[in-house]
Every structure is written in C-alpha cells, then in structure tokens.
C-alpha cells in the first residue's frame, strides 16, 4: 500500500484516533474517492492489523477498543456517500448477543459486540440476563444469522444450553447458528450442548462468526458442529 492517504487511514485506526479517522474519511470524500475503497484499502487494513497485534499480545484491550471505535467513526462518516453510490458495505451478517439468564457480567459480551461490529457485522445486543425466549424472539424479529450467548459463571452456563434448546424447539436451527463464550466456557462444554461454535476471546469470535457465515447452509447439517 503506497498511497499516503490509505497509509494514514490505516495508522489512524491502529492509533485508535477517531478524530483523525473522521478527518481522513472526509478528506477522501472531498477528493471524490470511492468510500468503499477507503474502507478496504485504508481503514480495514488497520483494524485487521490491530486484531493481529492484540492476538500476539502486542496491543491490549484498551488499544483494541480505541481502534474499533475509530473504525466505527470512519465508517459512519463514509456511510452516506456509500449509500448514495449504492456501494454500501454489506453487513457480513446479523448477530443477536446477550448474557445468559441470571448472569449480569457483560464486559466480555460488550467487547465481542464492539469487535464484531467493527468487523462488519450488524449487532443486536439484548444486554444482560437474557431469557431463552427473548433470544428466540429477537432472532425471529431481525432474521438473525447467529445468536451469541455469554456466561461468566459456572452457575449460569446452563442458560447457554437453554438458549440452544429454545432455538431448536422453535425450529430456528440449523439456519441460525448458536455461539457461546465466557470465562468458564470451554470447547468441551460447547460440544456437549451442541453449540455451533465457541471462542476464547473477542478477536477469535470475529473469525468464528466469519467462518460460520461462510458455512450458512440450511441443507448441510453435518457442518453444524465442525467448529465446536
């Protein structure tokens, strides 16, 4: 990437500087640049790099959150022009998120929401202590692709199972994928309750969601537990 503007865009995301990102986005619009190109060649390169740096322990959660916020600010600035040109960045998918019934711990869930949103997903965050019925209702309402349930405590992990059962009971799966996460959650638990996926952290959750979207195929049930 040689263009200094794209390079500056990338850097504004890595620096977690929303003001700078917005300024560069406006500059691109003034120059008549294709906003989608500004995202794909500039800003998105930065967020990918930030994710990698976080993954290898070079960047930390506050850095990553700042990068995600800068990304969102840039996209928001570019969005009207993308809509005008009919080149809006299509959401990768719709994800309903919440913490399991009885669990009020939402730091992890919020982080996942921010990263998935910055990564291009449309997020419907139901907040904390969400009942299986609420998950099902929201998934139907917005025609969700993925439902994500977080649980910090061993005592509330059963709530993740209840959501998966409710999705099954309502005939939403396998079309809607169910993913789980949280401090006490393991891949073994995910397999045990038949979740479609599990990830250890927010960055892996983005990878997981992308993979699942590539696998959305109502006819192929064998792939269901491939990622669990």
């Amino acid at each position: 990437m040689s263009d200094p503007l794209f390079e500056a865009m990338r850097q504004s995301i890595i620096d977690g500087a929303p003001d700078k990102a917005v300024e560069l986005a406006q500059q691109a619009l003034a120059q008549g640049l294709d906003p989608l190109q500004a995202v794909n060649l500039g800003f998105a390169v930065g967020i990918t790099f930030a994710g990698e740096q976080f993954g290898c322990g070079e960047m930390f959660l506050p850095d990553l959150l700042a990068s995600a916020e800068a990304m969102q600010a840039a996209i928001k600035t570019l969005e009207p022009e993308m809509l005008k040109r009919g080149s809006e960045r299509k959401a990768l998918g719709k994800i309903v998120l919440g913490t399991a019934r009885g669990d009020i711990h939402d730091i992890g869930k919020n982080l996942v929401a921010t990263i998935l949103s910055a990564g291009g997903f449309q997020i419907f965050d139901l907040g904390t202590s969400v009942t299986p019925e609420q998950f099902v209702a929201k998934a139907k309402e917005v025609d969700a692709d993925i439902v994500g349930v977080s649980a910090l405590l061993t005592t509330t992990m059963a709530g993740q199972k209840a959501v998966i059962e409710a999705l099954d009971r309502n005939g939403l799966r396998p079309r809607v994928k169910a993913i789980i996460g949280g401090a006490a959650v393991t891949s073994k638990w995910a397999a045990e309750i038949g979740a479609d996926g599990y990830s250890r952290n927010a960055i892996d959750a983005l990878e997981l969601a992308k993979n699942l979207m590539g696998k959305v195929d109502s006819k192929d049930m064998n792939k269901r537990t491939a990622l669990a």
Partner: protein
C-alpha cells in the same frame, strides 16, 4: 475441580465438596468452611436421614445454593461462608441454618453462617442483591458485602479510584441493610482486582489485586467494621510454582493488613477452579502468615522471656548447647511454626525428592482418613429433609412455569 490425577479440570461434584469439607474441617488454619463449589451432580432423595450419597432424582438447578449448604452442614462443625444464587433461594437457606441452630432465634443470637452479597459494579445494586441484604438483615444473619471493582474494566483504572468505588458500593449496601434492621451484623467485604488488559479477566494473583484488598480493608477498619478480602488465590491453572508464589504472597499481605476474614484458599484460575491439594498447600502459607502477623514477641504470654535472653546466655556460656535448655523446649513451638510434611525441609539424602503436589496428595489422603463426620440429630435431619423437599418443589414449579412461557411464545408465533 482440578483432578489431582489427570491434572485436568472437570465439573465439581458432591464428592469434591465433601472432600473439601473433610480437609478444611481437620485443618486449624481454616476458621470457617466455605460452600466452595457448585455440585453438578446434585441429587435429592427422601433418604437424607441415613444416607448422603443417594440414588435420588436430580435437584433442580435453582436450588444448587441450598444443596451445597446442605452438604456442608451435614459434614462440618465450623462457621460457614456461603451465598444465595437468587432472591427466592435465600429463605430456604436461612431455614436450613435455623434448623441447624435449633430455631430462628438461636440462629439470630449466634449465627453460624455469613452470606456473601454482591453489588453490580459500577455503583449498582441489583434487585436480587438488595433483596438478599434486606432479608439477611431482618433474619439477623450476617451479610458480607463483596464488592468487586475491576480496575480498568468495571471501575477506574487507578487503584485509588477503585478503592473509592468499592467504598461507595459497600456504603450504599450498608445503608440499605441497616435501614432494614438497624444494628444487623455486616462485614466490610470485597473481591477487588485489577482488570487484565490482555484477557479481560480478573487476575486474583496480581500484586495490585492484593494491594486493592489491603486498601479496601483499611477503609473498613477506619469505619470500625469487620473486614474481608479475597486473597490466597492464583491465576495459574495448575498447582505449580506460580500458584504457590501468588497465594503465599497475598496470604502474607492480607495478614499484614490485618484483614479479619480471607476467602480464596484452594482456588486456581482466577477463582474458577478448585484444588483440594492446593488447599493443603495454602494452609501452610496461611500458617506462615499467622506467624508473621504475630511478629517477634518479647515477654508476651506465649513467649515469657526477657528481651536480651541474658539468662539463657548465662546458663550456656560458650558451650552453644541451646538445644538442652528447658526454655528451648518450652518455647520453640511458640517461636516457630512447624509445617506439615507438605513443606519439604528434609535433609539431603532423604531422596528421592518429591514435588509439592505429590506431598499434598498424600497429605489430603491423611487428613481425610482423620476426619470424623459430625453427628446431627434425627430431628434436625428431618427438618432439613422437609426444607429441601419444599424448596425443590418450589424450584420445580418455577421451572415448569418458565417452560410454560416458552410454550405460550411458540403458540403465538
């Protein structure tokens, strides 16, 4: 639970809780017994009177808090640290304790248990937590407010800012609690920690976490309240050098800060995992911490000697035979903490050298074989049975009703 043989984590079961109680019961280092783990295999039967492990029906998940208290009361004589998982669940637990004490009044006069109640950081009290505080105050059963600010995550990143938030949350809880029943017993508790900027976890073994606990307790002491903290825990997943270093360090710091009650012994992986073997190793750190807190004594009741030990020098002169002195024999048990064989001080030659986990396994087996189960009267057990049956029915009805709601939701679609 950390399985001591496979060294892998597995869901905790009733037999694990019983083993934790058996070990805690036999170790004088532990002043109280925690309802430490949730039993994934909770079974109920109508043969509670004669049998512990029974082939009954599964206990509803909603009474997991009651079930673990039941297991502890059946196996322990020590004071109990526990907590309720819901607003509705508290009543049954208090009834169980009242049955154990003889009557609600006796429980009030000499409460056997303290209940952890948690605010929701930052600066919130949930309906559930508030209800628990009020109900405990009215029952005269002590509440221990466990505020858990995570510095940088759910609280200001500065340690001082997190101490401030902790104080505000606990004071708000105390206000609620004391308005419900002025003078009701309360503990200035806490589980403050830093927020791990890589994982988003709460590193309980971090030195800053210990510093937070010390500072929060200092505020409580200033207010003249009994204090509590969460220390002697580790972030390691195994019983290894990290586990030992972090747990022993915070045990020392907690003792130096004079915190009255400390939870956390036996715990690994930031409080997510328990190990009975770690519990017996932590008992050694705790004994050392007690010793440290006692300090170097001069002419105290325990160590009746004069400061410069001139009498001992006079008797022995230059011969160096202090070992022969009657003072040595009379005082060494007070002057030195004598560790169990978990701590390796063996002389060279007593090979093969073993590691601490191996020694801890042996120690756990020894303690369990020494343990004697307290005997409860048939009358108390009968009362336990009635309470557990009643609560199981209540929980089953609640579960069925929430199932019904799902049915309704389906029907409307």
């Amino acid at each position: 639970m950390l399985d001591p043989e496979t060294l892998e984590a597995r869901p905790s079961e009733t037999r694990d809780l019983v083993r934790i109680v058996q070990v805690t019961e036999t170790l004088p280092q532990f002043a109280a017994q925690s309802t430490a783990v949730v039993c994934s295999d909770a079974l109920l039967s109508n043969s509670l009177l004669y049998n512990d492990a029974c082939n009954g029906k599964h206990a509803p998940g909603a009474i997991a808090d009651l079930y673990r208290l039941l297991v502890v009361l059946q196996h322990s004589d020590k004071p109990v640290v526990t907590g309720s998982f819901s607003a509705a669940g508290l009543e049954g637990m208090i009834d169980l304790l009242a049955a154990d004490s003889g009557s609600p009044d006796r429980l009030r006069q000499q409460p056997r248990a303290v209940f952890d109640v948690c605010p929701s950081p930052p600066l919130n009290w949930s309906e559930f937590g508030s209800h628990n505080l009020i109900d405990l105050a009215r029952a005269g059963v002590p509440a221990e407010i466990v505020s858990m600010p995570l510095a940088g995550g759910t609280a200001p990143v500065t340690l001082a800012g997190s101490v401030t938030q902790h104080a505000a949350e606990v004071l708000a809880g105390i206000t609620l609690h004391q308005l419900a029943a002025p003078g009701a017993p309360i503990v200035w508790g806490g589980a403050p920690a830093i927020f791990d900027m890589r994982t988003g976890g709460a590193p309980m073994g971090a030195v800053e976490t210990a510093m937070l606990n010390m500072a929060c307790a200092e505020v409580g002491k200033h207010l003249g309240l009994p204090t509590h903290g969460y220390l002697v825990a580790t972030d390691s997943k195994l019983v290894d050098a990290q586990a030992g270093a972090e747990s022993a360090r915070s045990a020392m710091l907690g003792a130096l800060a004079g915190i009255n009650m400390i939870s956390g012994a036996g715990m690994l992986e930031s409080l997510a995992r328990f190990s009975v073997e770690k519990l017996v190793i932590d008992a050694e750190s705790i004994a050392s911490a007690y010793r440290l807190a006692r300090g170097i004594e001069i002419g105290s009741d325990k160590v009746p000697s004069e400061t410069l030990a001139t009498a001992m020098f006079a008797q022995i002169g230059l011969s160096g035979e202090f070992l022969k002195l009657k003072e040595t024999r009379a005082l060494f048990r007070q002057e030195q903490h004598l560790p169990s064989p978990v701590i390796d001080r063996s002389a060279r030659g007593s090979e093969p050298a073993s590691d601490v986990l191996t020694r801890a396994r042996t120690r756990v087996d020894e303690l369990v074989s020494k343990y004697r189960k307290p005997s409860l009267s048939e009358d108390v057990l009968r009362k336990f049975q009635a309470i557990v049956d009643r609560e199981a029915d209540r929980a089953a009805v609640e579960e069925a009703e929430s199932g019904k709601n799902v049915g309704v939701a389906q029907a409307t679609k």
